[in-house]
């Protein structure tokens, strides 16, 4: 009952100045629209760019790093274990890249319920032979099916069929950049030389494009068996174990745990790609900054219209007070006006923001670097809509705060005397 009365007085004041009110509301609508559009687009872009890395990168990579031993013989001597020991020119010991006993490691990982999946891998340095020239390159021997399940391998094979890599013996999926340099087509036979000097002929069954030029110029894929043959190793030889987790946030902690457990080197995705995180957070920050700036401008619009309303409706406020409305009631009336502008403008803004996002989502966006993307990326995260809605209400509340306080303090005697 009480609120109904306040609302009806608010409404009448609003309608008395509906044009200015509408302009103020449009200000809010515009800023919320831009806020949603911008954030959805920026976030879509972030996801896209992150996806470039995150989809292709294991959450944890287990491998053997060639490094000198951390503990040197002198450190083990009881005579010197309280002193600083300086040793120069330490050389790495003869440790191989191979992960020993990898079957057991993989088994342990597979039974860990924090792990989504595991893909073993062999990384081998090679030369691609083009006539008399040798191009340096890297061949990844992969478990084709697991690689596809965990790292969306198929999406990045832009020509040819990825599964041929498994079904055809001695086959290779060449990096797009490599293929261009070698002028090869699908079905061609190419020759490569391993770092140990062995030569092997492989059939090209597809081209691979990651979107990162530096990778595409160097890397190619074969099956694990082909890579083992290439290196002249047994069929238990692998150099890397790629782990994909259910929760990416656990990667740094689990990397440490696995490194200790298996006595291997382990690197997590966050450490390996910290620059991407920074890029994403800066883009998000910019979107929020722009959105909030727009909202503050809209807030000033509301502040103005309320001040004008109060100035014009001084008489009405005076008589309301004279007939028994308290300062708090008058305050509520103007806060209600401000909030209804905010809610109305904000809701429309959310709607238009969705429309704008949907529109951007339709704009064609073809780039050679991103084979899976056809239109501009948009992230329809409901969180943005919630934040936008809450922001619009908070801003309008603050915009209405001072004028409402001013209205509630109006002294009816001064107004009535003035007549």
């Amino acid at each position: 009952m009480k609120f109904k009365l306040i609302a009806s007085v608010s409404k009448s004041l609003l309608l008395a100045r509906w044009k200015q009110t509408l302009v103020a509301a449009i200000g809010v609508t515009f800023s919320i629209t831009m806020f949603i559009g911008l954030l959805s687009f920026m976030s879509g872009l972030n996801d896209l760019l992150d996806g470039l890395v995150v989809n292709r990168t294991p959450h944890i990579r287990l491998y053997n790093e060639i490094l000198p031993s951390k503990i040197q013989p002198i450190d083990k001597s009881a005579d010197y274990n309280t002193s600083y020991n300086f040793i120069r020119s330490i050389k790495p010991k003869n440790k191989l890249l191979e992960i020993y006993n990898n079957a057991a490691v993989i088994k342990t990982l597979q039974s860990d319920n924090r792990v989504l999946g595991i893909a073993p891998k062999i990384i081998a340095q090679v030369f691609y032979n083009v006539g008399t020239i040798d191009l340096t390159g890297i061949i990844n021997g992969i478990d084709v099916e697991e690689e596809n399940r965990l790292f969306l391998f198929k999406d990045y094979v832009v020509e040819g069929n990825y599964i041929d890599l498994k079904n055809t013996t001695n086959s290779i999926v060449l990096g797009k950049g490599v293929a261009e340099k070698m002028l090869t087509n699908i079905g061609d036979i190419i020759q490569i030389t391993t770092s140990k000097g062995e030569r092997l002929q492989l059939k090209v069954v597809g081209f691979f494009q990651s979107g990162l030029q530096d990778i595409d110029k160097v890397q190619s894929y074969t099956s694990i068996a082909t890579a083992q043959k290439l290196l002249g190793e047994s069929n238990s030889y692998i150099t890397d174990i790629q782990v994909k987790l259910k929760d990416i946030a656990l990667a740094p902690a689990l990397a440490k745990e696995y490194a200790a457990l298996f006595e291997l080197d382990a690197i997590d995705i966050q450490t390996a790609n910290s620059q991407f995180e920074t890029g994403s957070s800066v883009r998000t920050l910019i979107s929020y900054a722009v959105g909030i700036t727009l909202l503050i401008v809209a807030g000033f619009g509301i502040y103005n219209i309320l001040n004008m309303m109060i100035y014009e409706k001084m008489d009405s406020i005076a008589i309301l007070k004279a007939t028994g409305f308290s300062g708090a009631d008058v305050n509520k009336i103007f806060i209600t006006i401000a909030l209804s502008i905010g809610i109305f403008g904000g809701l429309l803004g959310l709607l238009f923001g969705f429309g704008l996002s949907a529109l951007i989502d339709q704009i064609p966006f073809n780039t050679a670097a991103l084979p899976t993307v056809k239109t501009y990326p948009i992230n329809y995260n409901p969180k943005f809509y919630m934040v936008g809605g809450i922001f619009s209400i908070i801003t309008t509340y603050f915009a209405g705060y001072l004028p409402s306080r001013k209205a509630s303090k109006i002294d009816p005697v001064i107004i009535i005397r003035g007549k």
């Binding site: 009448s12 008489d315 007939t323 409305f325 009535i416």
Partner: protein
């Protein structure tokens, strides 16, 4: 002796702008139920100032003010608003109707604020008041569609809506022509005599004052009669 519904004792009031001047000096007034009292005096003698104090809108004064036997000093702003809403009806020289609301809605506003009755009942009461004032046919119009005299009658209906213990008026006929002044005066008289409504009306129209039950005459901030 009958109890006073409105009483003020030794009211002093000062203005400080531009220099300190005393506009009300030791004013004592007492109004009883169903009395029709007028306050007269020259322009600038402090009539309006006194009325604003009596109506609780101005709280910056010395002395005692009792409405319905209750001391007003020390009450909070919202409590005073409640007193005005429930116990005092106000009619000013200017009508102060809200143009965005219909006539009936204007009359209902203080009743809705009081919220003792449902909206329907308040509306029924508002019609009753408009009928007493002979303007029930204008109920659905907007105030700016009415004549000056009609507007002032709507303002009186609004003052009556919560059945206040007293109606206060600050030159309510000051803006009206002779004929409309006469109508408004007769309404006041009828309210006093038929409905036992207490009224305290400020006027500088001596003819008007002479026809009320009692005249309080002021001069230079003092009550002289």
């Amino acid at each position: 002796m009958e109890k006073s519904i409105l009483e003020c004792i030794k009211i002093n009031k000062y203005f400080y702008d531009p220099v300190k001047i005393q506009v009300l000096k030791e004013v004592d007034i007492s109004i009883k139920k169903s009395e029709f009292v007028s306050i007269t005096g020259k322009s600038g003698c402090g009539k309006s100032t006194l009325l604003y104090i009596l109506s609780t809108m101005d709280t910056d004064y010395e002395g005692k003010l009792l409405i319905d036997g209750i001391e007003m000093r020390g009450k909070k702003e919202n409590e005073l608003a409640r007193v005005r809403n429930e116990k005092i009806g106000f009619v000013f020289q200017f009508h102060y109707l809200l143009n965005e609301f219909s006539v009936i809605r204007n009359v209902m506003l203080p009743g809705l604020k009081l919220a003792k009755l449902s909206e329907k009942e308040v509306e029924a009461h508002a019609y009753e008041k408009l009928k007493i004032l002979g303007i029930e046919n204008e109920a659905l119009k907007k105030p700016n569609q009415l004549s000056g005299g009609q507007k002032q009658r709507v303002a009186i209906a609004r003052a009556l809506i919560n059945n206040p213990i007293i109606i206060m008026g600050d030159e309510p006929t000051g803006n009206l022509d002779k004929k409309n002044s006469e109508i408004v005066f007769n309404i006041f008289k009828e309210l006093a005599e038929v409905y036992n409504q207490s009224l305290l009306i400020v006027t500088h129209d001596n003819e008007f004052a002479a026809r009320t039950h009692r005249i309080i005459e002021m001069e230079d901030g003092r009550v002289i009669r």
